[in-house]
């Protein structure tokens, strides 16, 4: 009996059907078939779950089963695995410096440490909370908002790409 691996399925993963094994070789439930028909190498797990109105639990269970049966090939890995460009952090640091002065570097490193991260390993999903922590260090509301506006533009650019 093949050993089953625990796979964490994440919403931004993209799969396509494996060329090595056909779904017809495996006994699948109707919902699993429904997922199989949606796999096109473009739709994310989250999009498929939306279309089929699957709960988080069902999504995890179905994709894990299909994966364990060797029916899926990963097209795109979860985004959490990709770190943000350290240059972006330097840009934020520069903006923070304009409002709080040279202490900005220390504040940034402290904030990263609070998140158990450093300048090289910060995932995109942590960026908004980092901005939230940094913003609290700017006491002037107008300046704080300027900084938040700048950071928001940068974050939204990441979502476009």
């Amino acid at each position: 009996m093949a050993e089953k691996k625990a796979i964490e399925i994440q919403g931004d993963m993209i799969f396509r059907l494996s060329r090595k094994r056909s779904p017809q070789e495996v006994k699948l439930k109707s919902l699993e078939w429904a997922v199989v028909t949606q796999l096109n190498g473009e739709k994310t797990v989250e999009q498929i779950a939306d279309i089929l109105a699957l709960s988080e639990e069902e999504t995890q269970e179905i994709f894990s089963h299909l994966m364990n049966e060797g029916l899926l090939e990963l097209v795109r890995a979860p985004e959490e695995a990709t770190f943000i460009d350290p240059q972006l952090l330097s840009d934020l640091e520069y903006q923070l410096k304009l409002h709080v002065g040279p202490v900005a570097s220390v504040i940034l490193d402290d904030a990263l440490a609070e998140l158990h991260k450093n300048r090289q390993n910060l995932e995109r999903k942590f960026l908004p909370v980092l901005v939230e922590i940094l913003s609290q260090e700017i006491s002037n509301p107008r300046k704080r908002r300027e900084f938040q506006k700048y950071a928001l533009d940068k974050i939204m650019e990441l979502y476009k790409s």
Binding site: G11, D12, E46, S55, P128, E132, S135, L152, I155, M156
Partner: protein
């Protein structure tokens, strides 16, 4: 209105609905993805007006309420005369929603058209229990009652 003042919310992957209503439960604008069941919107308005109404009444000044549900989160922000509710997938970062609102809400509230609209909306939430206080006679009466009660206990 939502697309004008909160454009990032409508572009953010995972956001399914954004509803803006006033504190009288009237939906002022809504934006949803096509699959979203819009029939729940009046219920959302009612629930959050109740929650923020009680909070205002108790002077707790609750600004934000985030409730998780099976497929996502309900994020609501009290803007005094308006309430904005965002329905999003669990993958959406709450801190990002908060950041968008921190940046966009001041522009929204300061806009002349919105400020004019706000002037016509009562300050207290729909069905909000009014403040009440005891008048002098009632205070005296209660003091007498409690005084008697204490007296009775001491007497025993």
């Amino acid at each position: 209105m939502i697309e004008t003042y909160f454009p990032e919310l409508t572009r953010l992957p995972g956001v399914e609905a954004v509803v803006l209503f006033d504190n009288q439960k009237k939906v002022r604008d809504q934006w949803t993805i096509p699959q979203f069941n819009t029939t729940i919107i009046p219920e959302l308005a009612e629930s959050y007006i109740q929650i923020f109404g009680v909070s205002d009444r108790l002077k707790e000044a609750t600004q934000e309420v985030v409730v998780p549900f099976e497929r996502g989160i309900l994020f609501a922000r009290n803007l005094e005369k308006f309430v904005i509710v965002i329905v999003a997938r669990l993958s959406v970062e709450i801190s990002l929603l908060r950041l968008i609102l921190e940046v966009r809400v001041p522009d929204f509230l300061e806009d002349r058209k919105i400020a004019k609209m706000g002037k016509r909306i009562p300050a207290s939430k729909f069905d909000q229990i009014n403040e009440f206080s005891l008048d002098e006679k009632e205070v005296n009466f209660i003091q007498q009652l409690t005084g008697t009660a204490h007296g009775g206990k001491e007497g025993n």
